[in-house]
Symmetry: D2
Subunit: 359 residues, 4 copies
């Protein structure tokens, strides 16, 4: 109800502020018998970790995860899995200057008004550090899905500001994605993107862009109409990531340039498997997966924290000038790639398990 | 879990197939004491009703709603409100020819695979007739919100295929929207849109477009971070409407053409009220409403049912030629306007009530 | 949240006041493919129906159920099943004299205070007529469980006031239970119980008693620790029935007269099946079924509505004398038997489906 | 779904095995602004702690709690509160002898069958150590309720085996309860109870009993009919505590010895406040609190772990002789007192917050 739980049968509840003692989550509903170690989770956390490259934030933390429960002799037991990461780079005194300021496009004002109180250290709960717990839980879901279904989830940076890329969504791999620090598998575009980000960074400014995500080998039948269509829950999951302003699936906004006769995905039979000739639906019809590639796009606004000077007001409604003194993250996109994948994994895991009931 | 419930404290559960005995819903969690009659609900149902104009489906039903419970002497009592509309235009025999066919971009194939059985009469549960219950429930939410908060929700058709409109989102009213049969308040654009739809219709084809929705007088503080951000739940609600392929809030996909320093919404104080100079956030920051106008855009793909001939396969994987023999709906957009408003109302009602707990 | 939904994956939401237009429910989450007709449901409704015998209420209604959705060509489709029964004996004018009175041990006062308004016709939503929907939904669950697992649920009247019965819980059948109008399979005790009830009835008074329920052929593994132990959810379900004041499972309150060494249920192997020598646990250990007979007892207080004169106050706090002028139900126990069975069936159905995920 | 979450708006999710790294919980939905420190929680944890006296288990742990999130500068912020207690007495090697044995009336067999795997160290998740998290969360709820409503929750040991006590439920205080190590405020009975427990302990056996709980100053209107009656949810909460076999409210099982005319609680007006002359209802009518004292009774079976020799089988269905070699807890009742109070507090907190919506 208060918004810190996601999922229905594979349910995660997250906790933690960016400068509190720790961040993490409880996973309730992971089936027993899955081989699981901290290493499995650490791999994805490292892909999300700050300080990976010059184009992301320089906050320096190892983000080492500990499994506190739910795993015994290397296997999940069906009981809650608590995952915890201690905050080690939590210098609260850095933030005292910001305690009364409403930073533009941050959650400072809305949290203050909603709760009457707010942890002002680095954004507190509203910090993107909260997504660490999502990535940790997502790693568990991905391992399970991959083992049971060969399902594969790959996200990548498709566009940074106005620089677009050309990528084959049928074949792109995580290895290709991780080959560049911007996580764009089109190498030429990647070079331009990195250049742009470095320029923007030097100006103390920030930039946004688009991540595309594809899901391969998805079983037919995932999704629960009418309100919990697979597309609707994916949208919910993705739009809950900080800085996301839009989500589109399949043909998305551009699909309206076609008429119905062009847009409709005709069925045919390929070696006895029901397929569609086109995939404007993005692998989902009537809210249920049809076995085709699921693909969707996500837009991240430019990061709100910038070093450039801005005007805003404080808690007493006095005008103040503001410029982030320390590090800032000119482009969150490469670190957002594993977050998008994690949210997709959590949704798919939930629907995969649900399908065991109703299917 | 099985997907037919929406909301947490103002919770609706819908039922009904397009050619079954009736469609409707139970609203659980409506506060007691609200003055409510069937007339209040009928107004919105009439805006969604088929057969309103030449550019929509010619199915002819009155869609008269009956309140079966939860209202006593003209007021809600706090107990479940059951709303029911009988299906009167349910000629099942029309559909026998379609019983084994997987219509392109319909839910025929996915329902068959998921459930092993499917009500093939007019799409059964997957028919857009299911949205009638949403509109009925949304009418109750809107009445409550309007009474308590002066909140106003206005949606309109912004674009049909490539025909765009110019509308002032700060002032647009429902009266202006309903002045044209296409529900676009830009009268010049409306004329062109209607022309286009008539042309498409005569070709037996269909067309999609974009609806924009604005919410005025929204209280500060609605939304529950981190997973149930107001934007995420709005996205979920909207993406659960049949034919929706994308959702964007505030600056949306185009927002990435700005740098952070341009995109950030600076705070200032206007007569003691905290305001933002721009509204790229779309009235939501950190997942919580900040009191500015909430505005979002929704894309509807072209309707799947067309009269033009198409190729597809049947349940035995034989290729078949298909063309909808009867009426079809060349453009769902005008009838979708009250559906978008209803889903927004349901989300806002839920968060308004939740805010009474946590606020 | 507002309390009219029960279950998690086989979820029912009920509606209706005793003198409103209709009562019923939506079942969401019934698996597709179950053969289901109105007849299957009517059997249990008839066992709950008023006017069955001299010792129950004389309200006369047929309680005929209609399936409005979710069933196509005689089988469930996986979509919501709406079940509706019209109220035909709803003479509201009978109740005008009670509209301002707080009847002793009824919900009149608490509903008035909680909601500020109340449907005073015959108790409105707080009437036991609401349980009709539970029995209808329970019939669907029972049919499914019986088909899939041979699970059998039998309840019977064990005690009326101080008259106890002796029944073999391992063998008792529904046929034996229904052989007497009091639904007590110990025929000698049944005669005494009926005599007592007739005497109490002639005095314008009412009487309570105990129902025992047994569940046979329950699969091992049902129940979700730690909060949703099978025993806890059964208790929740049973304690939600009007007039229930207590619930005990296995050895219950009397179990404390034994020491641990006597009370512990020792395991042994019987033809390769793990069994326990005693069953003080009532078939549940650690909140999970162990395959032994599940058995529990439920106490119903004497009915609140009596013809005998009583003193109470009205809404203006004036003292008033009260005596139910019309029919009253001197003993709800025989009609409560199918309600207890239905609630048990709903819980077991839910856990049976859940076990398909986690098992 | 998987059973480790309790509550709807004040929602706790617990984690941890008795010999894992830590145990604890996340509270999601605690309103912002509550003054809260670890000390507030430690008080109740100390009342539950093992090793308090000779008549309970000698396991020796400090059970020191740490608040990891959700509290800033001494006040709750509205974000999730993670409470953690490290396990310091976790000698896993003690338990290797039990790894293949199904201890009588323990959860060993059912966990093994349900999950296919089980943490055999001291009962793993099924250990009563799990209740530590409930007490921690309950302490937060109690503090909030006491501050807002003066609500007071007092539980005490009413009966041990056949030794009953006489206690005035209208006046009994926690101080009186905690005055004896058995937590029975009837001092004479307490002496006899302690004697009995010491005798049973010396025999290597265990004993059960009854705890009564009273709630004073409860606001009118708490509870959500029809399925989530206050009595039903209290029953659910209490029956989820390990070793509980029964729950009764108000007149409970003995109430059936009265006729309706005796059992009904007549209303009268006392200084303008609506009161009832008797309280057989236990403060709840139609599932909603009426402002009178809420009181209920809970039966705990004798502890399953005993030193006396018992026969059972192992995982290979071989008969084995078993006797707990180390410490055992001959009577859980005194330590169960704060657990019962905590569960009551969690239910009342949830309904108190819900009432802010619907009231």
């Amino acid at each position: 109800m208060a918004g810190n739980t996601f999922g229905t049968v594979f349910k995660i509840t997250t906790f933690g502020e960016t400068h509190g003692k720790s961040v993490g989550c409880i996973i309730d509903g992971c089936p027993a018998g899955l081989t699981l170690s901290e290493k499995d989770i650490q791999i994805d956390l490292n892909r999300r970790r700050p300080g990976q490259s010059d184009i992301t934030t320089q906050r320096n933390e190892d983000d080492l995860v500990t499994i506190h429960s739910g795993v015994f002799k290397g296997k999940t037991t069906g009981t809650p899995i608590m995952l915890q990461v201690k905050n080690t780079d939590a210098k609260s005194h850095d933030y005292d200057t910001l305690k009364d300021v409403f930073r533009p496009s941050h959650a400072d004002f809305t949290y203050s008004k909603k709760y009457g109180i707010r942890d002002f250290r680095g954004g507190g709960r509203a910090s993107a550090r909260e997504t660490l717990a999502r990535v940790a839980a997502g790693a568990v879901a991905r391992k399970f899905l991959n083992k049971k279904t060969k399902m594969e989830i790959v996200a990548y940076v498709e566009q940074v500001k106005n620089i677009k890329s050309a990528v084959n969504i049928d074949t792109v791999t995580q290895k290709e994605v991780d080959a560049t620090i911007i996580r764009c598998p089109d190498k030429e575009a990647a070079v331009k993107m990195i250049e742009l980000i470095n320029k923007i960074k030097s100006e103390g400014d920030s930039v946004g862009g688009i991540i595309r995500c594809v899901v391969r080998n998805i079983p037919v039948g995932l999704g629960e109409p009418v309100f919990d269509k697979l597309s609707a829950t994916l949208g919910h999951a993705i739009l809950s990531i900080p800085a996301v302003k839009g989500f589109e699936i399949g043909s998305g906004f551009d699909g309206i340039l076609q008429n119905g006769s062009e847009h409709n995905d005709s069925y045919y039979s390929e070696n006895g498997v029901v397929r569609t000739r086109t995939n404007n639906s993005g692998g989902i019809q009537g809210g249920i997966s049809n076995g085709e590639l699921v693909h969707f796009r996500v837009v991240f606004k430019p990061t709100s924290t910038i070093r450039k000077q801005q005007q805003t007001i404080d808690i007493n409604k006095n005008t103040v000038e503001l410029s982030a003194s320390g590090r800032h993250d000119p482009c969150v996109l490469p670190r957002a790639v594993p977050i998008v994948e994690a949210m997709a994994a959590l949704v798919l895991m939930d629907y995969y398990l649900l399908q065991k009931i109703y299917g």
